[in-house]
């Protein structure tokens, strides 16, 4: 009954939309290596498409690739089966989407975290540097030593982008702030190595840091634990992770991956799906910082004011946050 109602409600919404009407869509999603339960990026997408499926009752096809050759294979297979739209997760699927999208110009593709410039591809990127900038501001302000740390997962440009935004934010709040940056490793296992995360965190604490931002997937769990053990602060990533260690989680830098995935399906259903490049930053609510019951006692009014100032500055363009990947370098680090 409920499902019926939801479907009906969705139809009504679609009918009332001025420009379009509901489509009978066959959505599909191709998760990347790591799988849909990676406690990070893939899982965010999974949550988004699950939410869509629950709300609309529409089933989706899915596949988890286990080696690079399967990306193109899986996406093409989805296209052959008439899936539309097809969501590709992660920048690594960019080239595969590009190839298959050319072969199937009538099918809509959405790629998250990468840009594919084709008329039937929607590219969604996040301005992680902007969100990281905000948590960088909060970190420096919460820090007594004015030394803050960053711990990344696998050393790839995306993570350097986080690091770079964070460092700029930290220095924006206090130009003499010092930022330590470490990467957990160079293999995918760096995404899931809590003990190494904990070690790196402790060594940064030893150097005087008292707030650490971890953008490292499952490795972050170890960082948060170390912060709790030492009575220092940690900052979560991707989703709101404040609840993991209430009291020592200063905040989380949230990335609306789930919303992006949900919107890709939803807009296709509504007929509002649009190809092209979508960079989701602070202005689009694609990235943000998390404030909830778990951390509200840690955030002072001064911090709120400063971060509000920064946010407005970034949206208005008066503060420009350097994006690491534009030139593969970071002046702040």
């Amino acid at each position: 009954m409920k499902k019926l109602f939801q479907t009906a409600a969705a139809s009504i919404i679609a009918l009332t939309a001025a420009t379009s009407h509901a489509e009978d869509i066959k959505p599909a999603v191709v998760f990347d290596m790591g799988g849909k339960f990676d406690k990070s990026f893939n899982e965010g997408v999974y949550n988004g498409v699950e939410k869509f499926s629950k709300e609309t009752g529409i089933k989706y096809r899915e596949f988890e690739v286990t080696n690079p050759s399967q990306r193109e294979q899986a996406i093409r297979k989805m296209a052959q089966r008439g899936a539309d739209p097809i969501v590709g997760v992660g920048f690594a699927q960019g080239p595969a989407i590009e190839k298959v999208a050319k072969e199937y110009p009538d099918i809509r593709f959405t790629i998250i975290d990468s840009v594919v410039d084709l008329p039937n591809v929607q590219s969604i990127e996040f301005k992680e540097h902007e969100g990281s900038f905000l948590v960088g501001v909060l970190a420096t302000m919460a820090s007594k030593s004015k030394k803050v740390g960053f711990i990344g997962g696998m050393d790839i440009p995306l993570i350097r982008k986080f690091a770079c935004g964070f460092a700029q934010g930290a220095k924006y709040a206090n130009s003499s702030a010092e930022v330590f940056s470490n990467m957990t490793g160079t293999t995918p296992s760096a995404w899931n190595d809590p003990s190494k995360g904990s070690e790196l965190a402790k060594s940064q604490f030893d150097k005087g840091a008292d707030v650490i931002f971890a953008a490292a997937g499952g490795t972050g769990i170890g960082v948060y634990q170390a912060a709790k053990d030492e009575g220092k602060y940690a900052i979560g990533v991707d989703s709101n992770q404040n609840h993991l260690q209430p009291g020592t989680m200063l905040t989380s830098m949230t990335k609306g991956v789930d919303v992006a995935a949900y919107n890709a399906f939803k807009s296709a259903m509504d007929g509002t799906w649009k190809p092209g490049k979508h960079a989701l930053g602070l202005a689009e609510n694609g990235v943000d910082w998390a404030l909830d019951d778990n951390n509200k006692s840690l955030i002072t009014d001064a911090m709120k004011a400063k971060v509000k100032e920064a946010r407005e500055g970034i949206i208005a363009g008066s503060i420009s946050v350097h994006d690491y990947k534009t030139d593969n370098s970071c002046p702040a680090l």
């Binding site: 690079p68 080239p95 990468s114 790839i156 160079t186 293999t187």
Partner: protein
């Protein structure tokens, strides 16, 4: 004194027993599939169709097979010298880096037929270089090759990552990948190749590297069993003292064998980098180096066995992917478990069924062979 030689005919040893082992593995897998509430017969159908149902699927199956032949041969060659090369993964990775660097450097200047031999040489050379250091440490410094090759896998991952992130990456590009090669540095796909003869097939990653794989099989067969170097390798592998006694320079032999092993593993780079992805990227080996160990084990370190085992694993990889595509409850992990069962039954438990088969065989021979004359005194 007289150890009883329980000699079974070769066709049972290399044909019937592995077949029974595979069937056992499938049987146990079937039970597991039944437990999670799916139909095992349907699953087998999907795997077989997924691997061989059409030219596109066959293309993928054979593409994986090509990788496994290279890494299986690499492990086998080292194993003939009693060296356990766990470093196929890293050697393949670095081999691919070699191919990539060469292609990126030359694809604007020279045509394909000049790039091809150079790229093959580069993949082999880089793979061999990656095997050389552990081999040298084993031969002259006594470090254990298993440990050092594993360590070199990690070093290979880091090196590749470093080079991709800091050197080869296209600016403004998110993923750590090089630019695409120009067509002059792309191995013709099987689709193009058979197209020259007017045959049309679906495009798949299968490319002409498979010919290099088959050539390598022939080469390894000749080299190991029909040259004095192969003779020395086998002697050293069976009995190091005997090799010393025979005046073989065992240190040089260890280094040489490992380098050859590295060359073969490095050829994976030709198949993946030049033949499939056409750019340098992360993770393209995707475990083929480790699968090569299972392949060599199942193939009894013989090229023919390795081709068959590679085909089996190619089937499991491709058919298994199809399986998790068609039946979402059978996830990637499940497919890995099935692959694990095959390795378990065909590798670790390879001799489990032997005594039973031996008994059955002896019974059959005796029941109709009483007239047979005894030849051995």
């Amino acid at each position: 004194m007289s150890s009883p030689s329980k000699a079974l005919p070769a066709w049972i040893d290399v044909g019937v027993i592995p077949l029974i082992n595979i069937l056992l593995a499938f049987f146990v897998s079937g039970i597991v599939i039944l437990i999670i509430g799916e139909d095992p017969i349907e699953a087998v159908k999907i795997v077989v169709y997924g691997a061989f149902g059409n030219d596109y699927n066959i293309g993928y199956t054979l593409h994986y097979t090509t990788n496994f032949i290279f890494t299986g041969l690499a492990v086998a060659v080292a194993f003939h010298a009693s060296l356990f090369n766990i470093g196929g993964e890293g050697q393949a990775y670095i081999g691919g880096l070699g191919v990539g660097l060469l292609c990126l450097a030359l694809d604007q200047y020279v045509p394909f037929w000049i790039i091809l031999p150079l790229a093959i040489a580069a993949s082999g050379l880089f793979g061999a270089a990656w095997a050389y250091v552990p081999a040298y440490l084993q031969a002259y410094r006594g470090s254990h090759i298993v440990i050092t090759t594993i360590m070199f896998n990690f070093i290979a991952f880091s090196l590749m990552n470093y080079i991709l992130v800091n050197v080869l990456i296209e600016p403004g590009q998110m993923s750590p990948e090089s630019r695409d090669f120009l067509t002059s540095a792309q191995m013709p796909t099987m689709q193009e190749a058979v197209g020259w003869f007017g045959i049309e097939i679906e495009k798949s990653p299968l490319n002409l590297s498979i010919l290099l794989a088959l050539f390598s099989c022939t080469f390894v067969w000749l080299f190991i069993w029909h040259t004095r170097w192969g003779y020395a390798i086998r002697m050293f592998g069976f009995n190091e003292n005997a090799a010393n006694y025979s005046g073989i320079n065992t240190q040089r032999l260890v280094v040489g064998t490992m380098c050859l092993s590295g060359v073969l593993a490095g050829f994976v780079g030709i198949n993946e980098i030049m033949g499939n992805h056409n750019r340098v990227m992360l993770d393209f080996v995707a475990g083929a180096g480790f699968t090569g160990i299972a392949v060599a084990l199942m193939g009894r370190n013989h090229p023919v066995g390795i081709i068959i085992a590679s085909l089996l694993f190619g089937t499991l990889y491709q058919g298994g992917a199809e399986l998790s595509f068609e039946i979402p409850t059978i996830q990637g992990e499940m497919v890995k478990a099935i692959q694990g069962l095959v390795i378990l039954f065909c590798g670790a438990l390879a001799y489990m069924s032997r005594p039973t088969i031996e008994r059955i065989f002896t019974a059959i021979v005796e029941s109709n062979g009483t007239a047979k004359e005894q030849t051995n005194g």
